[in-house]
């Protein structure tokens, strides 16, 4: 397994040799920021295209195929269009908060980006409470949505925002608990630590029953957390026109649109990290040859492919199920997922204590 941190360290040394430490750090920060933005935008555009194609396939259609080869440039055209669209300023709104909301949403998903394990040694920040940090920053997003709904001075957006608030606060619990289950299993909160712990076998296999339960709950809660169908109540098109972002136009709307897809990537990325070994290739104890072949596939590819496969499942949900109602949604969380989750945590602890895992 090639360790990418060798390259990053080498760049760092190189910079230090020609300039003072503070300048090197600044340059590195800027470079990483630019790279992050670029990856961010490209991923979002890819996801928009991906979803449109997948949805078309489910619906016996073709999907975008006119703009560029196979319609690959469709989302670029959309982006250019969105950039030049007029941003409408509204009367009787809280201007500052109205403008702030989309940035909050985007910042939340960007911060979460920084702790994802992109590859072996390729990580922006790696510190001992990485997963905790991730959960903390991802909840900033709900603030942006609440603000967007409230500051628009529109009844539909307000209902959408309140739905979203209720939904995300509830499902955060499930996410938190299923993450806690896996953290207990790994014995560390550090993202690298969690990945390293899956060197021999991914957690979904080694943790067997409690890990699978935690994964299912995480997937359901993650879908709800990203406001995607069947949990897309905050922007339920047939009920609330466009939900909390009804009043946003141009690039402000674009931010919400991008953040939605990026959150999808983050949720699937975290799922890949916790249950499918992050960037860790598929290893089966005892099959040395097989393990070695797997190691030849770059770690970055492993991570991204895992994340995309999991997002495919989430997209699949969206185009299959009808939407839940708000009371059913909360029932599902508080009456089913939460008790099961608590029970699962106990189960996991028992598994760890008696060493019943592989």
């Amino acid at each position: 397994m090639y360790d990418l941190s060798i390259i990053t360290n080498w760049i760092h040394e190189l910079l230090l040799s020609v300039m003072p430490g503070w300048l090197a750090t600044t340059i590195e920060c800027v470079a990483i920021g630019v790279a992050l933005l670029l990856v961010y935008a490209l991923l979002a555009l890819f996801y928009i295209y991906f979803e449109r194609k997948v949805c078309a396939a489910f619906q016996c259609r073709l999907g975008p195929n006119r703009v560029g080869p196979l319609g690959l440039l469709q989302s670029f055209a959309d982006m250019f269009k969105m950039l030049i669209k007029e941003i409408i300023t509204l009367k009787n709104v809280d201007r500052f908060l109205f403008a702030l909301a989309p940035y909050l949403v985007i910042i939340a998903s960007m911060l979460s980006f920084s702790v994802l394990p992109w590859g072996n040694g390729l990580q922006i920040i790696d510190f001992n409470i990485g997963i905790f940090f991730l959960i903390a920053v991802s909840s900033i997003g709900v603030l942006g949505i609440l603000l967007a709904g409230w500051s628009s001075n529109n009844k539909f957006t307000l209902i959408g925002a309140l739905r979203s608030g209720a939904q995300m606060v509830s499902y955060e619990l499930s996410i938190g608990l299923s993450v806690l289950t896996m953290v207990a299993f790994a014995g560390t909160m550090s993202v690298t630590g969690i990945v390293e712990a899956q060197k021999d076998l991914w957690f979904i296999f080694s943790g067997h029953i409690p890990a699978i339960i935690a994964f299912v709950i995480y997937l359901v809660a993650g879908t709800a957390e990203t406001n995607r169908g069947p949990f897309d109540l905050p922007e339920a098109e047939s009920e609330l026109t466009a939900g909390y972002h009804t009043e946003y136009s141009g690039m402000h709307f674009g931010f919400f649109y991008l953040a939605e897809y990026l959150n999808l990537f983050i949720v699937s990325g975290v799922a890949a990290l916790l249950f499918f070994g992050g960037w860790m290739p598929l290893h089966i104890p005892g099959w040395e040859g097989f393990n070695e072949i797997m190691d030849y596939i770059p770690s970055v590819l492993w991570f991204i492919i895992k994340a995309i496969v999991i997002s495919f499942v989430i997209i699949w949900f969206k185009w299959t199920f009808p939407r839940l109602r708000i009371d059913q949604l909360l029932n599902l969380e508080w009456k089913y997922l939460l008790p099961i989750n608590l029970f699962n945590l106990v189960l996991m602890v028992l598994v760890i204590v008696y060493g019943l895992h592989f």
Binding site: P230, S238, T241, W319, T320, P322
Partner: protein, 542 residues
């Protein structure tokens, strides 16, 4: 019929009678409310379904013709109430006897300016409050200067009016507030993805729970009834495609039967079979689209594409014969416009082969889904009594246990000789309404199967006079459209165009009942319930 006449004559000596296909009772306004009560409550008469109220302007007097039907005996009766007053015409309301009358009377008020005493809600229904004049009056000034296209937002009043009569017979105008001051009113529509067109609900909510709905229509009111008065009889037919655009064949059918009845034309069996075949194909296509858009409203977008697949196949069949995808204009007086396409039988058989597979798929994909069950079951329950009182016919009425299929209750064309079941469920919830439509698709397929191999030879259109003039008289005909019983009422003075052509659409009662069955449910349920009733807005507004 004589029996009914004797009974009414004994109780109300002032009533006079006119014979016809349907017995017509003339009654002075003062006695009308008592007669209405008698007609509904007498065990042998039991006229509990008010089909429609037809406002009339006979130049010398204003009045209404009430079309009543008995759900027990399947008999029909008309009642005529007139007032000589032209400046300020007033008739007593029957809104306390049939609940749907409240809205029907609003419609008459809107068109003729007849005020209904004791009606709790005397606002205009289709036109804005500032509209000048009453358009269906014969002396209405049509010039556009009178009512120019508005450029400013419509004036809105949060109150309604009621003309209440006290014991001494004095009529007093009262103001009633629609919403309470503390209500949080959300405006849903007219431009909203889930209202299926341009309907507007002002919804008072408490959190997400609905307290009251005030429905506004008229956003696509095109004045078809007034337009018909200036056209010849064959010309009036083409509007039928543009009301409920899925039931175009049915509506054509209704008007054609009424005209043929008036002219005494007997059409060939071939034409009748073709009409029935087209009706049933259209019913399958309409229910397919219902299912698709309904699932889309509930968030299951993919279903739409599976149901439209079948609909496209039916549209292909229709296009080959009728020459259009939606506005067919196929039925005509004396038969149908042109003969069946040579591939018709083959195409229909192909459709019948794939239909059961598709219906099975719909059942598995949506009806069996646990989320769909949670969203639909026990939502928007409509009781049997309310269904009749609110005049909710069609699949929605049958889901509440009311066997109201016109094809069975008042058989027309060749339906009397066909073997099919009237599907009736008793739950009355959204799930029953949805499942019933799927079951009806199977029944329609059954009818088509019976007919497709036995299309008799003969002419597809009999010879009719070049200029069609109906004799003096009045005719009423009902058919079963895709969404319920559709009625046409024609009154002729012997000329080449009708004096009055009233279209009684099934969707107005459907939209009207939304307020009643959504109270206490969530906003999301409004979409569920509205979708399951499946109203078509241009049909409400005409």
């Amino acid at each position: 019929m004589a029996n009914i006449q004797d009974k009414i004559a004994k109780q109300f000596p002032e009533a006079t009678f006119e014979d016809g296909e349907i017995l017509l009772v003339n009654i002075p306004d003062a006695k009308w409310h008592d007669l209405a009560k008698f007609l509904k409550e007498d065990a042998d008469l039991h006229f509990d379904h008010l089909i429609t109220i037809i406002g009339m302007d006979w130049v010398d007097k204003f009045g209404c013709v009430y079309q009543l039907s008995s759900t027990k005996y399947n008999t029909q009766i008309s009642v005529k109430v007139a007032t000589e007053e032209r400046e300020n015409p007033m008739i007593h309301s029957v809104s306390d006897i049939w609940k749907i009358a409240t809205t029907f009377e609003r419609e008459v008020y809107d068109f003729f300016g007849i005020i209904f005493i004791n009606n709790p809600d005397m606002r205009r229904l289709f036109l804005s409050i500032d509209w000048k004049g009453y358009p269906l009056r014969k002396d209405y000034d049509m010039s556009p200067e009178n009512n120019p296209v508005p450029t400013e937002n419509e004036r809105q009043e949060d109150v309604t009016y009621s003309y209440v009569e006290d014991e001494n017979g004095n009529v007093e105008k009262k103001t009633i507030a629609i919403f309470q001051p503390e209500d949080y009113v959300v405006n849903i529509g007219p431009q909203h993805p889930a209202t299926h067109g341009v309907l507007r609900f002002r919804t008072a909510v408490d959190g997400e729970t609905i307290k009251k709905i005030d429905f506004y229509s008229g956003y696509i009111h095109r004045g078809i009834e007034k337009l018909c008065e200036g056209l010849t009889y064959p010309q009036t037919l083409h509007f039928m495609d543009r009301m409920d655009y899925f039931s175009g064949h049915h509506y054509h059918h209704a008007l054609c039967i009424a005209y043929e009845k008036a002219l005494g034309i007997e059409i060939s069996r071939r034409a009748q079979v073709i009409r029935v075949l087209m009706d049933e194909l259209a019913r399958i296509a309409s229910h397919c689209l219902f299912l698709g858009t309904y699932c889309m409203d509930l968030g299951a977008t993919t279903m739409l594409f599976y149901t439209l697949r079948v609909r496209e196949q039916i549209l292909d069949i229709m296009e080959r014969t009728c020459g259009a995808r939606m506005t067919f204009n196929y039925g005509c007086i004396g038969g149908v416009m042109q003969d069946l396409h040579e591939d018709f039988v083959k195409d229909v058989k192909e459709l019948l082969a794939v239909l059961p597979k598709n219906i099975k798929e719909y059942n598995e994909l949506f009806i069996g889904n646990v989320i769909a069950k949670g969203r639909l079951e026990n939502i928007g329950n409509l009781s049997f009594e309310d269904a009749i009182s609110y005049g909710v016919t069609g699949p929605s009425g049958r889901a509440s246990g009311w066997a109201c299929d016109v094809r069975k209750t008042h058989p027309y064309s060749i339906y009397g000789g066909l073997d099919f079941d009237e599907v009736v469920y008793t739950e009355g919830d959204s799930m029953a309404r949805t499942k019933l439509r799927i079951a009806e698709m199977e029944q329609s397929a059954k009818i088509i199967e019976q007919l497709i191999d036995n299309i008799p030879d003969g002419e597809y259109c009999v010879k009719v006079p070049k200029v069609i003039k109906l004799p003096v008289g009045r005719w009423f005909q009902m058919v079963e459209g895709c969404r319920g019983a559709f009625g046409v009422y024609i009154e002729s003075d012997g000329g080449a165009s009708p004096v009055r052509l009233k279209l009684a659409p099934p969707c107005l009662p459907l939209a009207n009942v939304v307020d009643h069955i959504t109270q206490g449910y969530k906003i999301a349920d409004l979409i569920t319930i509205g979708g399951s009733l499946d109203y078509i807005v241009p049909d409400i507004d005409r």
